[in-house]
């Protein structure tokens, strides 16, 4: 048998010198079948987007790529607006068709299946029409969608612009480096938020006086920023009526503790209809004991008993929980006093704990009694207890 030149088979991933006879071998045919089925499943996934074009999110572009095993190329979707648009165009291209023909000739696959690996020009034309329709529809319905897709770039630039505007004002008036909470005065509020893990944030428009609150000092300045149009965050206007109740920033009494009994009874049927994930934990407490020092532990126990009584049909006293102790007592510097006092308190508590532990240990100490002695004592005890019966 004359020596033939070595060739590399991409399907079998081996070098052989069997010439054209290799492609008719059973192993090659088997591997070719699996290779084609893999490629076909990938192309079928893409053909879903061929019939149903969808907009590609900016964040998903980097992870969206396709490896064409026939052309030995990776098709990236970094610049595409629609899902798999570059891949679809590649599958419809003449270069891909040539590569397919070459692959089929080299590996001896059946020609009947060849059309499955190529996107026809009619299909491509239909897809392009659908994409055009989709882009016009999305542009007319959601003009801000483009802004949402470009949040990372836009947000950083817009926040920077906002900070530049405010820092100029802040530097003149107060010695701060970072923008601090800004509270509104009127119906418009400006709230520049650093973008770290948020998708985006922004400032509301307006030219009303803004109050910069810094450790109790309030400095009024006129600020103007127009970030709302760049960021995806929408703004709402606060209700103007009732300005004296205070809000969460002023530690006002929370609205859920100002409950009218009639409203509660009316609310039951509406909430019972919720058929999604169960909103409330109904008595099925976990086996693991809960932390007694958890936030609102006292409230939870109280409310649970109230709910049990409500379920039994009892009528609760109106405003029974509406007392002054609704805020959790965190103790220490969070409640009152200085750090020094907190430390003293902590050390005294720790000392007491140590003392208690010591006393427990002293009580627990007992002389060692061997097993033999214990058995003997037990036997004696039994004998003494049974003696009266024996005597009788």
């Amino acid at each position: 048998m004359p020596d033939k030149q070595f060739e590399y088979c991409t399907v079998c991933r081996l070098n052989h010198n069997r010439g054209k006879g290799h492609k008719f071998s059973a192993k090659h045919q088997q591997r070719l079948e699996s290779h084609l089925s893999k490629a076909l499943s990938k192309i079928r996934d893409i053909s879903f987007f061929l019939s149903n074009p969808a907009l590609l999110r900016h964040s998903d572009r980097a992870s969206n790529s396709f490896w064409c095993s026939f052309c030995d190329t990776t098709i990236c979707e970094l610049d595409s607006t629609f899902v798999c648009s570059n891949t679809i165009r590649h599958l419809a291209s003449s270069s891909h068709l040539d590569a397919i023909k070459k692959f089929w000739f080299e590996n001896g696959a059946s020609a009947e299946k060849r059309h499955l690996f190529v996107v026809q020009s009619e299909e491509l034309a239909k897809w392009e029409d659908a994409c055009k329709a989709l882009s016009t529809a999305s542009a007319s319905m959601e003009p801000s969608h483009g802004a949402v897709n470009n949040i990372p770039s836009i947000c950083s630039s817009s926040i920077a612009t906002c900070f530049e505007k405010f820092s100029a004002i802040c530097h003149r008036n107060m010695k701060i480096s970072d923008p601090l909470p800004i509270y509104k005065d009127g119906s418009v509020r400006c709230n520049p938020i650093k973008k770290r893990s948020l998708v985006d944030s922004g400032c509301s428009t307006g030219s009303s006086p803004l109050h910069f609150e810094n450790h109790g000092e309030t400095i009024s300045q006129i600020g103007r920023c127009n970030l709302e149009q760049h960021s995806g965050i929408a703004c709402t206007s606060l209700p103007l009526s009732g300005g004296s109740e205070g809000n969460v920033h002023t530690c006002a009494h929370p609205p859920w503790l100002q409950v009218d009994e009639r409203q509660i009874t009316d609310a039951y049927p509406a909430l019972d209809n919720l058929n999604a994930a169960p909103l409330y934990r109904k008595g099925n407490r976990s086996k693991k004991p809960l932390n007694p020092k958890r936030v609102g532990a006292a409230w939870a126990e109280k409310r649970r008993s109230e709910m049990a009584r409500e379920a039994a049909g009892e009528k609760l006293q109106k405003g029974s929980e509406n007392d002054k102790a609704w805020l959790p007592n965190f103790g220490g510097v969070w409640q009152s006093g200085s750090r020094r006092e907190t430390r003293k308190e902590f050390e005294s508590e720790r000392w007491l704990d140590i003392e208690r532990l010591k006393s427990d240990k002293v009580k627990a100490l007992q002389p060692y009694i061997s097993k033999k002695q214990r058995l003997k004592e037990g036997a004696v005890g039994i004998a003494t207890s049974t003696e009266p019966h024996n005597s009788n």
């Binding site: 923008p179 601090l180 944030s201 965050i233 606060l238 409330y280 958890r294 709910m307």
Partner: protein, 125 residues
Amino acid sequence: MSYLLPSLSNKADIDKAIRDTIDKVLVLRFGRATDVVCMQLDDILAKSARDVSKFASIALVDADAEAIQVYVKYFDITHIPATIFFFNAHHMKMDSGSPDHTKWIGAFYTKQDFIDVVEVSFTSS
């Protein structure tokens, strides 16, 4: 996406949700069902609702509803979506790197980000 989660449309519903959610984190999303960022957040909330169901409940609140303006005012909601966390009828504050610790403004990048926030809120309470 808002139809996948329970929606609270009046004050009594919100009161009940906050008061009766015991030993679980309650996540309230104040927003608008038609807003793009709200839709993005709702998608993430709906997908994570089952995963966090053992230690958290999620509900949506329409910020434009007249009946809940007392909550909008109390929480100073000027930007939507605003996500607020509760535990045992206590408002949970969180330091997310923004000056406002009372709420989370905007959507989350991924589902896991939201789950992490809820988990931290639950374990720290």
